[in-house]
């Protein structure tokens, strides 16, 4: 993906969020925290500014700030109920933020109307914990339907793309099966193929292996690793898989209690965490 073609228009409604300034500030802030290789004039693909979210009186997210760069793989760690999934779901507006801003490719997405939300969502793919494949469609049709109905591709184009993506996740031979006939791990790989076939700019993973039997986890992680290393896909992954985080992540974000406690390179987070809570959490898991 070529990020040089991004429209660098300034945000007149929020002068403080002016793209150039913000990109520069984010670069300064994130440079020591990530293994991502920055390019000259690069703008973040996702910018989360002062994000707050509450369900009734429960404050789930409290002033979360995060920037994600094109091609970067960000792994979000944290105990249950720390707000990781909610933050992820705010990025494609499955949850509506209570306050704050989210920008994708320098475009404000909070407070947009339904049509704009739909346009946004086609550029932000998502893989769910429960796969959420469409049970009435075959594996191949699951991968095709978004391309046909949303991207307006022809059936033949969509089918070719679907078979290509299913090949990539090693399930081309299951193309005509119904999702019910597949194992959980296979279903999750189909879900990844479905998301990738839309060629999103960002791919969100919401605990993709949490619902899987241990022996099926590896296949899914292999697919994700391959995606991160070979296709240069921007990924935000909420997971408990420490090995994956160590191996694949450019940056690890540790969240707890609705705030980002610490973020940094995997090396720092796993071997030399600055925050005692991070150390405690890593120690408990490892």
């Amino acid at each position: 993906m070529s990020f040089f073609s991004f429209k660098k228009k300034s945000n007149t409604e929020h002068p403080a969020l002016d793209a150039e300034v913000a990109a520069q500030e984010a670069f300064e802030r994130d440079k020591p925290l990530t293994n991502h290789t920055f390019e000259a004039g690069e703008h973040p693909i996702v910018r989360i500014e002062h994000l707050n979210k509450s369900f009734g009186s429960t404050h789930v997210l409290n002033d979360v700030n995060l920037t994600v760069w094109p091609g970067e793989v960000v792994v979000v760690l944290g105990p249950s109920g720390s707000g990781k999934s909610t933050m992820l779901r705010c990025i494609n507006l499955l949850e509506t933020p209570s306050a704050g801003h989210i920008l994708i490719e320098d475009q404000e997405i909070t407070g947009t109307n339904e049509a704009e939300v739909n346009a946004l969502r086609r550029d932000v793919g998502m893989v769910f914990q429960q796969f959420n494949l469409f049970g009435h469609l075959t594996v191949k049709e699951n991968v095709m339907i978004g391309q046909i109905k949303v991207l307006g591709k022809s059936k033949e184009e969509a089918e070719a793309e679907a078979l290509k993506q299913l090949e990539a996740v090693g399930l081309a031979d299951r193309a005509d099966f119904k999702p019910g006939a597949l194992s959980g791990g296979q279903q999750q790989r189909v879900a990844i193929a479905r998301a990738v076939a839309m060629h999103p700019n960002v791919l969100l993973f919401d605990e993709p292996t949490s619902a899987l039997d241990p022996e099926l986890v590896r296949g899914v992680l292999d697919v994700m690793r391959n995606l991160a290393k070979n296709s240069g896909m921007t990924m935000i992954v909420v997971t408990h898989e420490m090995g994956f985080a160590k191996d694949v992540a450019d940056r690890v974000v540790f969240m707890e209690g609705g705030v980002v406690v610490e973020q940094g390179t995997p090396d720092v987070i796993f071997n030399n965490p600055q925050n005692p809570r991070t150390a405690e959490f890593i120690g408990a898991i490892a």
Binding site: E114, N118, F134, R194
Partner: protein, 476 residues
């Protein structure tokens, strides 16, 4: 005026009778009247010699008969036809079936004169081969001793009396073992009678309605003759509830009612599906007013008996001067009643789709319409087909309640037939008609549920096909 004319004419006829009687004494007496032509001939000869008397009376008698045919038939005959009936030969009901042995009873009263011969002309196509004729002459209530001979010529029964039957007597002819034409229809018994004055035409008898002898009727006749059927029916329970003859004939007689049931429920159901889907969408809408409307409609209909709804519609609408055909009313009440149940089925179906399906569709960028059309509704339909079919079965059975308000459906036919035969078998036949639809549908529901279970847990259609092919290969 008319009665006066009658009296005058009777006087004329009386004189005619006397003259013929006096002449008859001269000619050779006819003790046997097998040969009616010979008898006629002798009469003619007698008249020819009394030509003047004849000519004098001819005009008057001609006028007399003409007036009779116009004004009053009965009093003109020396022998009037009182009745002609055929004994029912139907296993159930009291009809007379053609092509099956029955007993024809003909009765006539001798008004005046003496009847020496009687010929009954039975309908063309009647079978008299194994018929036996019994003639009784009654005087008041007492039976008279008479000598008579009867012979059969084609479809004619000729009865000759050894001594002519006097006036004021009743002649009863019973022809047993005769068969009416198998085609059925309305028939009359015609005929002639002979007095000393000659041969006259009998007045037509009242019509006898003959039921055509269909293959079904033939089967019933056959069953009637079977010893095992007799043995079966001699068991009180079997004969009362499962009488073979009545099963056969009631299948035919209940069939129109079954069609009415089917027509009502098949026409009502698509309407109920559309109404039900509409109210289901209203019930999950965000507008509280629409939601309330749907809740009231659904709960009122689900909270009251179908029977009551039938009464309200069938007796209420006429009070508003809305008079509709009962079948149409039946269709309306079934459609409305089913729609309430279907809307709950649809609502539950839509709401049973997990939120993850909406989220997955949204995350692909589908709008709400696309999500509903391509993702949610197709999965809803799969889920509601079993409860939908179950509800169809219920609605189909519930059409039986319409019999209470006079819709001529299956139950009504069965009730009528049971009333007329005094046998419960028609209800059993009605049960068969209901089961003929419900049992296959119950099986369909089961197999759909099974297939859905499979598609959610394992096999696909193509996989299961290849599996069955593999099995059949093994068998080969």
């Amino acid at each position: 005026m008319i009665s006066l004319l009658h009296k005058t004419m009777s006087g004329q006829q009386l004189s005619l009778c006397m003259s013929s009687a006096s002449f008859k004494a001269e000619s050779a007496p006819q003790s046997t009247a097998y040969n009616s032509a010979k008898s006629k001939l002798s009469h003619n000869r007698a008249y020819s010699s009394l030509l003047v008397v004849l000519l004098a009376t001819l005009l008057l008698s001609g006028l007399f008969f003409m007036s009779l045919s116009v004004f009053s038939v009965q009093s003109a005959f020396a022998l009037t036809t009182n009745k002609a009936t055929a004994k029912s030969n139907q296993t159930e009901g009291n009809g007379v079936i053609g092509g099956k042995e029955t007993r024809l009873t003909w009765e006539g009263a001798v008004e005046d004169e003496q009847v020496s011969q009687l010929t009954l002309q039975l309908p063309e196509g009647s079978d008299l081969q194994s018929a036996t004729t019994k003639v009784t002459v009654l005087s008041g209530l007492t039976r008279e001793k008479i000598e008579a001979t009867a012979s059969v010529e084609g479809t004619q029964v000729v009865i000759s009396f050894a001594t002519p039957v006097d006036a004021q007597k009743l002649i009863r002819v019973e022809i047993s073992g005769m068969k009416f034409p198998a085609d059925g229809g309305s028939y009359t018994v015609e005929g002639t009678y002979t007095t000393e004055q000659g041969t006259q035409k009998l007045a037509s008898s009242p019509q006898i309605n003959i039921i055509s002898n269909t293959p079904v009727q033939a089967l019933v006749n056959w069953l009637d003759a079977q010893p095992w059927v007799e043995a079966w029916n001699s068991n009180h329970f079997l004969g009362m509830f499962l009488k073979p003859q009545l099963i056969v004939s009631s299948v035919v007689m209940l069939f129109p009612g079954w069609l009415v049931c089917l027509a009502i429920v098949i026409c009502a159901y698509p309407v109920a599906i559309v109404l039900g889907m509409g109210f289901a969408l209203l019930k999950i809408s965000k507008n509280p007013l629409l939601r309330a409307l749907a809740v009231v409609y659904i709960n009122l209909l689900r909270g009251t008996p179908f029977f009551l709804q039938i009464y309200i519609l069938f007796f209420g609408l006429p009070m508003l001067n809305i008079n509709l055909d009962t079948n149409l009313l039946g269709f309306i009440v079934v459609a409305i009643n089913s729609s309430a149940y279907l809307s709950e089925i649809f609502r539950a179906g839509i709401q049973s789709i997990p939120p993850g399906q909406y989220e997955a569709a949204s995350s692909l960028g589908m709008n709400r319409f696309q999500t509903m059309t391509f993702i949610i509704i197709p999965q809803t339909i799969r889920r509601v087909i079993p409860p939908l079919t179950s509800d169809f079965i219920t609605s189909y059975k519930d059409t039986s309640l319409l019999s209470s308000v006079g819709v001529m459906e299956l139950m009504m036919f069965a009730k009528n037939l049971t009333t007329s035969t005094g046998n419960m078998t028609p209800y059993m036949t009605a049960a068969l008609f209901y089961l003929a639809i419900t049992l296959p549908l119950i099986k369909v529901v089961g197999s759909i549920e099974k297939r859905m279970e499979q598609s959610e847990t394992g096999k696909t259609v193509s996989a299961s096909v290849s599996k069955t092919q593999a099995i059949s290969k093994e068998e080969n």
